[in-house]
Symmetry: D2
Subunit: 466 residues, 4 copies
Amino acid sequence: MKARRKASKPWGGRFAQATNPLVESYTASIQFDRRLYRYDIQGSVVHARMLAKCGLLAKAEADKIATGLHEIVGEIERGEFRFDPSSEDIHMAIEGRLIEKVGEAGAKLHTGRSRNDQVVLDLRLYLREEIGLVRRLVAGLQRALIGQAESHLDLIMPGYTHLQRAQPVLLAHHLMAYVEMLERDRARLTDALVRVDVMPLGSGALSGVGLPIDRRFVARALQFRSLSANSLDAVSDRDFVIESLAAFALLMAHLSRLAEEIVLWASSEFGFIELPDAFATGSSMMPQKKNPDVAELTRAKTGRVFGALVALLTAVKGLPLSYNRDLQEDKEPLFDSVETVKAALSAMAPLVGGLAFHRDRMRKAAQDGFLNATDMADYLVLKGVPFRQAHEIVGRVVRRCVSKRCRIEELSLKELQTRFSGLFDQDVFAYIAVDACVDRRRATGGTARATVKRAIGAAKTRLRSG
Amino acid sequence: MKARRKASKPWGGRFAQATNPLVESYTASIQFDRRLYRYDIQGSVVHARMLAKCGLLAKAEADKIATGLHEIVGEIERGEFRFDPSSEDIHMAIEGRLIEKVGEAGAKLHTGRSRNDQVVLDLRLYLREEIGLVRRLVAGLQRALIGQAESHLDLIMPGYTHLQRAQPVLLAHHLMAYVEMLERDRARLTDALVRVDVMPLGSGALSGVGLPIDRRFVARALQFRSLSANSLDAVSDRDFVIESLAAFALLMAHLSRLAEEIVLWASSEFGFIELPDAFATGSSMMPQKKNPDVAELTRAKTGRVFGALVALLTAVKGLPLSYNRDLQEDKEPLFDSVETVKAALSAMAPLVGGLAFHRDRMRKAAQDGFLNATDMADYLVLKGVPFRQAHEIVGRVVRRCVSKRCRIEELSLKELQTRFSGLFDQDVFAYIAVDACVDRRRATGGTARATVKRAIGAAKTRLRSG
Amino acid sequence: MKARRKASKPWGGRFAQATNPLVESYTASIQFDRRLYRYDIQGSVVHARMLAKCGLLAKAEADKIATGLHEIVGEIERGEFRFDPSSEDIHMAIEGRLIEKVGEAGAKLHTGRSRNDQVVLDLRLYLREEIGLVRRLVAGLQRALIGQAESHLDLIMPGYTHLQRAQPVLLAHHLMAYVEMLERDRARLTDALVRVDVMPLGSGALSGVGLPIDRRFVARALQFRSLSANSLDAVSDRDFVIESLAAFALLMAHLSRLAEEIVLWASSEFGFIELPDAFATGSSMMPQKKNPDVAELTRAKTGRVFGALVALLTAVKGLPLSYNRDLQEDKEPLFDSVETVKAALSAMAPLVGGLAFHRDRMRKAAQDGFLNATDMADYLVLKGVPFRQAHEIVGRVVRRCVSKRCRIEELSLKELQTRFSGLFDQDVFAYIAVDACVDRRRATGGTARATVKRAIGAAKTRLRSG
Amino acid sequence: MKARRKASKPWGGRFAQATNPLVESYTASIQFDRRLYRYDIQGSVVHARMLAKCGLLAKAEADKIATGLHEIVGEIERGEFRFDPSSEDIHMAIEGRLIEKVGEAGAKLHTGRSRNDQVVLDLRLYLREEIGLVRRLVAGLQRALIGQAESHLDLIMPGYTHLQRAQPVLLAHHLMAYVEMLERDRARLTDALVRVDVMPLGSGALSGVGLPIDRRFVARALQFRSLSANSLDAVSDRDFVIESLAAFALLMAHLSRLAEEIVLWASSEFGFIELPDAFATGSSMMPQKKNPDVAELTRAKTGRVFGALVALLTAVKGLPLSYNRDLQEDKEPLFDSVETVKAALSAMAPLVGGLAFHRDRMRKAAQDGFLNATDMADYLVLKGVPFRQAHEIVGRVVRRCVSKRCRIEELSLKELQTRFSGLFDQDVFAYIAVDACVDRRRATGGTARATVKRAIGAAKTRLRSG
C-alpha cells in the first residue's frame, strides 16, 4: 500500500522511501485549495490549447484534455469527485483524475508548467473574481446607506466628537460619511486589482520555461491585463494577496465603526434606532433582551481580517527567493478573509436598510448640549470679534447655562449683552437655531441639506459608473 | 415554516418576527463550536446534579437528563446527530435534542444557567485539556532533541552569530538550546493553566444567579482549581484564551527558528543534514528536488498563530462590560491555533528524530573561519594583556590569515611572536585547538562536553517530573 | 579623522576600512539604549569584582573600575557625559569613557564577557525593575477602583450585555470586575518575572566563556533567582521581552475596556458620570465641549502595545541561532511599551478616583428596560415551571409591556394571571423589585451587596500581601 | 500660576478648574507633532489668505499673520522657539506665539478652522512629501540593483526553491526580481498618494464651517488634487495613514527578503558575496568576526513597521464618528515608520551597490545539484515522452547520480540509453549544459541573457519616467 501511495506522487522518481503519512497530512493543502478547482481547470484548458498552438501537444490531445477537464468540473460539482488527501493538492488531484480518464494526453498537461506558477495562476484568477464580488457587495452597502440618507434628508441629530455632542448634523450627512469611506475601499480594491490581474504562467518552477511557449496567448485567453515580468519574482510573489488583505482590513475597520454606532444607537441610552426583529437576537436566559448581534459580530470579525494580514506578512518576512513551501500558508487566511468580508457586507447591508430611526429622540438630542455654541462664536466673529475671544466669551456663556441648567437660547438677550458681550443682538437667536446651524454649512463636504443632497447625487453617479 | 423556526429559538417569546436566515447563518457558531460537545455535556451533567442537590430539580429529572445527555454523546460520536444550523450553537443543539428525548426535565436544564457562563465553562474545559496535550507534545519534541544531543555528544560544529561562524560548539549544545526554549514554553503553559482552570458557572448571564445554587459543588465535580470571583468579569473574560494564544505564539516562534535551521542545514551550501526521504517532498517539475517542506510549513504557520493572537486582541479592544457577541469570535482562532501547534509539534518531533548529520562537514566547518580567535585573545589575557588589546592583536592576526588564506594555526610561532606579540609561545597552538576551545567552556550553560552532559541530565529529570 | 573613528571601534583590528557613517548611524543604538546606563554599570561593577575574585583581575584594578564607573554614573546624571553616536551603544560608550579615566584596568573590563551577554543582562535588570513598577501602578488603579466601589456600595445600575440593559447590578460589582482583570495582570507579570529574573552573564558571545569565571557569584550579587542554562539560548533569547509585552498587551486591553466605559458613561446619552474638569479637555473650536481625552488616548494606546508585541514576534520569527543583530530591535518597542503602560496607569488611576457618579440617572436606568425579567422567570421556576417555558412566558410579558409602554411591575396581577400564568401571585412584585434582584445573587461572584463586600475585602487583602 | 496655565488653554472659557499636569503631559502631542511645524505654517498662511479673500479678515491682518508665521519658521529652525509642553500641540504652540507677535490678527487665524481639520491638513502635507521621498529612495535601491545586474550579465548562479538548488539562473535575473517587487511598491505608493492628496480644511470640527469660506482656493494654493467630500469623514479619516503604512509594510517585507539573502550569501557556507568593510561590523569579543549588521537590522525593522500598521488598525477599530482623541495616536507610528523605511532604503542601496560577488563559487554552485534535471526532462518531452513520464525517468537518473556521487553529465550516453531511455542521444549533453539551460528561457520573465537584458532596459525606462 505504501508503494501505491509512493507511485502516485508526481515526484516519486527521485525518492527511495515513501512519504510519512503524518507529513502527507501536514503538507497537504487539498482540504482547502479544492475551492480553486474551477480556476485550476480554466487555466489548464488554456494551457493545453497554448501547448497545442506551439506544437508541444497534438491538437487532438489538447481536445481530449479539455473534454476530460470539463467532465471533472461536472464530477466535482455533482459531489462525485474523490478528494484523496494523498493527492497533496487540488492541482495533483485533478491531473491524476485526468490521467485516469484520458491517459497519456493527461500526462502531457504539465509540460512547460510547474505547480509554482500554476498555483499563482489559480490564486490570481480566484482573487480577481472575488475582488469583483466584494466591490459589488460594498456598493450594495453604499446603496443601503444612501437609501437611508435619502429617506431622512431632514432629520437633524447630534454630530459627535469624543462621543460628546458637538454640532448638529443631518443623519444623512452622518450616513454619507460611511459611503465615502466605502468609496475609498472600492478604489483601493480597484488599484489592487491591477496588481492581481497579472498572468504568471510561463514562469515555470522559478526560472522561466525552456520550451517554446506563448505566454501572451495564455494571458489573452484568460483576459489578464499583463504578464509577470520576472519568473523568480512571479513564483514567490504574494504581494497581491497581502495588498488585498490590507484593503480588506481597512474595509473591515470601516464596518467596525459602523457596527459600533449601530450598537450605540440601539442602546436604551441613545435610543436612536430600532433594529428589525429579523436582524436581532435574544438571550437564552433573559427574556427581555433584543441584541444587535450582527453588528457585534461584524465589529469582532475585524480582528480576524487584521489577523490574516499579520499572518501573511509574518509568513513572507525574511523569505529568500524564490518559491518556498511557506507560501502555501497564503490560502487559508485569504479564503477566510474573503468569506468574512463578504458575509459581513451581506449582513450589514440589509441591517442598515432595515433600521428604523427614532426621529424625535435624535432631533431632541441635537437640541441639548449647546451644539450651537460654535455658531454663536461665529456670530461674534462676523461682528469683528477675533475668534479666540469669541470662543472664550461663548465658553463662559456655556458655563453659565450649565449652572442655570438651561439652553443657550433660553438666556435673555439682556443677560447676553450685559454679562457677556454688547455685540449680541436679537438676531443671535435665529442665528443659533439648530436648523440654521445645519443649513449654514454649505461648502463642499458640509452638512447643509443642499450640500448633502449634492453629495448623495455624486455618490449615486459614481455607483452607476461601477 | 417561519413559525416553526421561530418557535425553535430559546428566546422567541419576546420577538414578533422570525430571524432572517442570513442573520441566522451569520451569527451561528455551530459549524465550529460543535467540537465542544463533550465539554458541554460534561458540564450539563454536573450542572443538573447540582440543581438536584440544591432542590431545584428532582433527583429523577437529573437522572433523566444525565441519561439523555450520554445518549447524545453516542449519537454525536456515531455521526447520527443532526447539527441544524438554525440551532445557533452547540449548546442549543444539545439542549434541543435533550428536550426531544426526555421532555420537560430537559426544559429545566437551563435553570440557573446562561449560555454566557456555559460557553465559558466549555471553553475552559476544552483549553485545559488541550494545554495538557500541547505540553506533552512539547515534551515529545524535547525528547527528540535530547535524543539527538545524546547521540552526538562529540560532534563539534560552528556556533554562529549573525550567521557567521563564531566559535566552535557541540551540536548537542546547539540542540539543547531549543530544549531550553521549549522548557520555557512548557512553564508558560503551566502558568497559563492556573488562569484557565477557573470555574465560571453560576455567573449567569452577567450578574450571578438568583437561585440557591452551589458553585463549589460544580467546581469540585469538574476538578477546577478555583471559582471565578466576579460574574460580570467571568462572562466577558477571554484573557485565558489570549494568554494561551500568546504562549502558543512564542512556542511557534521557537519552532520557526528550529525550522529555519533545518532549512539552512539541509541546503547544499551548509550540507549539515540529510532529511529522511519520508520527511521530504519533491517537485512537480524538477526531478532532482528534495525539499524540507515540513520545516518550511512550520516556519510559515508561525504567522497563523501570531495572526490568531492579533485577531483576539483586536476583538476585545474597547469592549464594554459585560458579555458582547464579539466574544463568539474567540473560538475559531483558538481552535485553529491549537490544531496548528499540535500538528507542528507532531511533525517536527519525528523530523528532528530522523535527521542524519554529516559529521565530517560539520566538524570541518568548525575548523574554518577562525573560530578560535576569541580563545587566542583569552590566551593573551591570561598572560596579562588587557582584553581590549588582546582583541586588537588577534584581529590583526586574523587579517593576516585572510590575506594569506590560511588558518590561524598555520601561522608560525615566529610570525606570531615577531609580528603580533612576544607573549605568544608554543602552547598557544594547543590552547586554540578546536576541541580545547569547546572543553574550556565549563561554567553552567557553556559548551564543554561535561557541562552539556549535565544539562542533558537536568533536562531529562525535568521531563520525567512532567 | 576616519582613522581616529576606526581606532575607536572595539573590533577595529580585523578591518581595513572604516565604517561608513551611514552604517554607523543605522546600526547605532546609543540614542535609545542609553537609558540602560545604570544597569550596565551595576552589571560591570559586579563583573569586575567577580574577575578579581577569580584572579582574572587584580583587586586594585577592580576597585579602580568600580570607582571609575561610579564617577561615570555621576557624569551621566549631571548631564556631563558626551554620548557619541560613533560609540555604537551604551556599553561601548561607558567602557570607552572608563578607559579614558582609568586606563589599562578599563581595557580589562571586557574580559570574559561579550556585548551579547552584557546587553541581555542590562535588559533583564531593567525589565525586572520596571515590572515591579508596573505591578505597583496596577495596584494603584485597583485601589482607585476599590475606593469608588466602597463609596458606592448601594448604588444600583443596569448591568449590560450587548450594550443592552440586562440585569441590575451594583456599580461596586461592575467596578470590581476590573479589579479582577487587573489582578490577573499582576499575576501574569509575577509569572513573567520568573523568566525575566535569570542571570545570563557568562554566556560570552554564544558558547560560554573559556576563562575560569564564577557565574553564581554574579547572580548572587545582582540578586538573580537563577542562571541561564544554555549559552546559545541565553544570548539569543528575547522570550522574556515578548512575554512581558504580551502581558502588557492584555493589561492595555483591560484599560481599553475601562476607557471605553468611561467614554460611554461620560456621554450625554448615558450621563452616568461627570469627569472632573482637571481630567477633561476642551475644543479649539467648540466652546461647550468637555472631552474624556485621557480615556480616549488610553483606549488608542492599546494599539501601540499590540503593535510592539507584533514587532518583536516578527523580529524573532525564523531567526537561526544564536545572536543576530536583529535582536537589537527589541529595545525600542519594549521601552515604548513600558512608558506607555506606566503613563496609562498613572493617568487612569486618578481619573477613576475623581469620577463623580450621577446616582439618580444610574438607578433610574436600572429600573427601565425589564431588567427584572430573568427574576420573573426564576419566580416561575421556583413554582415548578420548566425554565424554558418560564422564559417563553416572561418573553411574552415583555412584549406586552413594550406595546403598552409600561414596566413589568405596572401590569396588574390579574393581567399576569389571566394572560400569562395562573402561577403568578401577589408576591411576584416583591420578588422582581430591583433591589431584591440584586440581593438575591449571593453566590460567590454575584452582585448581592454582601457578596460584593466580601469581594472587596478579599481584593484588599490581596493588595496588602503585594 | 494655575490661573495662568488655564488662561493659556484655547478652550479655557468653559472650565472652572485647571487641567491636571499629569493629564497635560499625557495628552500633549507637541513632543512629536512639532515635526509638522512647516506644514502647519504653510497651511495657516494659505488659510489666512483665504479668509482675507472671503472678507473674513482684513488684507492687512492676513499679511501680518503671514509675516509673523514666517518669522516663527525662522525661530524654530534657529532653535529659538520655546516648545512649551502646556501648549498641547504644535498648532497651539504656533498660534500662541503668533498672538504674542502680532496680537489681535493672530487671534483671528483660527476663524473657520478647527484643530480637527488642521491636523489632518498638516499630516496630509507631511505624508505627501514623505511618500515622494520614499519613492525616490526606492528608485535609488532599484538603481543599485540594476547596476549590479548590468555588471554581472553573464554570471550564472543556482536559482533556489525551498533553499534547495533548483535551476540555473543569472545573478542579474535574481537581482531583477527585487527590482520588480520594488516597482510594485512604487506603484502602491503612487496609488496611495491619490488618497493622501485630499484637502480637508473647511471640514471644521466635524460638520463643515458656517462661515463663507472658499475651500477650492485653499486646495489650489496648496496644490491638492481634490477636496474631502464629507466633513465628518474628513476629520476622522486616517485611512490614508493606514494605507501608507500597509504599503510601507510590504516594502519592508521585500527588504527583509533581500536582507535575508545578503545574510545567507555572506555566510561562509554560501560564500557568494563579500561585504565591503565599510558596510560590515565586528564583534566586541570575537576578533575575527565580520557581520552583515545592516542587512540584519533591516530584516528586523520589518517587524517595527508591521507593528505600526497593527497599532493604527487597532486604534481605529470600533471608533464611532467623528473625531476621537484616539486619532492622535496616528502620528508616532507613522513618523517612526517613515523614518525606518527611509533609513533602511538609504542603508541598503549603497550596501547592494558595494557587494562584491564571488563569481567562481556562484558558477560552481550552479553546476552542482542537478540543476539541469528539468531540462533533461524537457529534452525527452521534445522527443514525445509525456512530461509526467519524462519527470519520472529523470528522477531515476538523479537517484543514480546521487548514489554514484556524480553529475548527470558525467553519466555515459550508453548508461542513459540502456538504463533510462532509448530516446537519449548525444545532443542531450549540449542540451543540458548550464548555459544552454539559462539561454533557453527566453519568454518574457525568463532568465535568458537576452530576456534579462530587455527586462533591465524596461526597468531603466520606467525609472526615468519617475
